[in-house]
Symmetry: C2
Amino acid sequence: MSYTTAELQKLSAFYKNQLLNNTVPFWFPKSIDKTYGGYLLMRDQDGSLIDDDKAVWIQGRAAWLLSTLYNTIEQKKEWLEGAKSGIDFLNQYCFDTDGQMFFHVTRDGKPIRKRRYYFSETFAVIANAAYAKASGDKKAADTARYLFGKCIEYSTTPGLLPAKFTGIRPSKGIGVPMIMMNTAQQLRETIGDERCDEWISKWIAEIKNDFVKDDIKCVMEQVAPDGSIIDHIDGRTLNPGHAIEGAWFILHEAKYRNHDPALIALGCKMLDYMWERGWDKEYGGILYFRDVYHKPVQEYWQDMKFWWPQNETIIATLLAYKLTGDEKYARWHKMIHDYAYSKFHDTRNGEWFGYLHRDGTIAQTAKGNLFKGPFHLPRQEWYCAQLLQDLD
Amino acid sequence: MSYTTAELQKLSAFYKNQLLNNTVPFWFPKSIDKTYGGYLLMRDQDGSLIDDDKAVWIQGRAAWLLSTLYNTIEQKKEWLEGAKSGIDFLNQYCFDTDGQMFFHVTRDGKPIRKRRYYFSETFAVIANAAYAKASGDKKAADTARYLFGKCIEYSTTPGLLPAKFTGIRPSKGIGVPMIMMNTAQQLRETIGDERCDEWISKWIAEIKNDFVKDDIKCVMEQVAPDGSIIDHIDGRTLNPGHAIEGAWFILHEAKYRNHDPALIALGCKMLDYMWERGWDKEYGGILYFRDVYHKPVQEYWQDMKFWWPQNETIIATLLAYKLTGDEKYARWHKMIHDYAYSKFHDTRNGEWFGYLHRDGTIAQTAKGNLFKGPFHLPRQEWYCAQLLQDLD
């Protein structure tokens, strides 16, 4: 199958309508914390608050979302003010005295937990960069650029952050080059930063050389520093939804670089490999973890269906179709779109459930917690609507 | 219903037969590593090895099991030699230079990961104590007593081990008094240690005073240092199978203390509360996590059925029935026994699967990994057979 222009226009309108009339209104304005700033995002299916703690990743992601809506959809005052609330909270409460950010804080900004990596920082970069573009705030721009530099330093300086494992079996994850690439793309496409293009090329080269395995048609989640496969339980564990997210970051770069054919080929290859590994032929949807050699996966939720791998696959398939016209990607996009909106979307209360069993039944009803909030779903609806908007 | 003596005799024979002719032969002698010592326990359903790494907890638990079989079932040379292999591996490879034990090592004993708590140590105590009784090895007895002292020191000295969380919202888990109580019971009942009775009384008092909530009929998994409920996602999360394991540790103590009626009442109450919270009325079996106020649980595998909560509930219900004669416990025991042996037992290859979906279908097939090995199932079969052996 392929999509007609009319069908793509209909999809574009669908995503934009879902975003603005279903997903965003589930969260805002009610989640803006007028007392302490930031957002109260840990909510059950009906929007009731289950915890008033704040997850630092998601505070940043929500501020990014509101700023991005302001920058790209409509200059609504409430979005800009909402974004400012998150930026202020991040700046005031989410940094430790050593300059590292926390992971989990109380409603009033007291630190509960700091983790050994710097994903809080990457989300603070995209939040500050998008907010700086929206507001013209120079301090936010400086913060975004400064933190981007810190993230590069963390990612290139072994031992700067404490290690979880000994040095006996060194490994590296695809998560670092992936998130850094997307952070740099966001920074570049909001306020600009001359470091970004070169670094993005390096991270793509790392993914291509060390994580993409053509001989076994696979994108590894973790490898040894030289790119070899670590044949132990953890080293064999694949995360198809994550690799597919990486695929569309690379396809986005291809699009940015005037449809660079080598990057299109790389991104499509990654999507192809991991669709084959991750798509559940029995029940539909993208499975959470797989073993590269089809052995048992240790992570307990390995065959559950989480919301975000579906969001990333909806973007990746649509973007691959837009860039290549290959009918396969239209077919895959329709499969994942139909599966996800029929199983995850809460037609009663809005937004999506996050956690389904393999067979598509709901495992638990939270819309927001320490790990889920207004990010993957609204980003997918926003990105897909933007991608198709030239058809309107 | 109640069990007739003939039914209990049949159960006793069933457990002993399963233990010796199904569960233990799945693991031994094939898992004893003749090259490096210790055990190769990370196995798929058919016994094939999926990883040659060694989980330190499970190395200790396996050495405990083999020593305990030797001490209580039959003085088989292969069990004593097998136990020695694990004890030697623990002593030679599993301690860091600071005296703390590792969590995860390679086949040849190189450290992969150390964690911020001391459960490796508690399993090394019971392994060394049981082995010392089996072998008469004085060094093993000294090691068991020394490590037991270290565990008491860790548990009573805040800040001695690095913290995962800041001090903003202090909490404590029921895991520490539970595992320390059982460690002390094992130490006392193998080689004896005069510290045990007093400490066991303290840990039971802590559980009773701080974790058991009569007003809401619940055993908390985590509380504030003063025993109050922490009304956030983590603080509300209950682990019914774990609390039921704690219940039988207390019932075991009641039995040891000449059927102490106050301890029988406490253990039965904990079992009653958490059976009500954990038993899945729709599909049977004990669910993994619940929320104390019936809100969504964040841990992804919260409604899965794992092997070990079923094992602990089989012991707890049988022990409660033996101590009280209350027909309810016979009924519950039959329910959990029938559920678990019909869903988890691998009649083709022996042993149990570890990880089922809520509806009882198999989620993944590993019999052993970093967290599962020859412990909860063989301990259950051994304990229940021992408990009923006076009927033979």
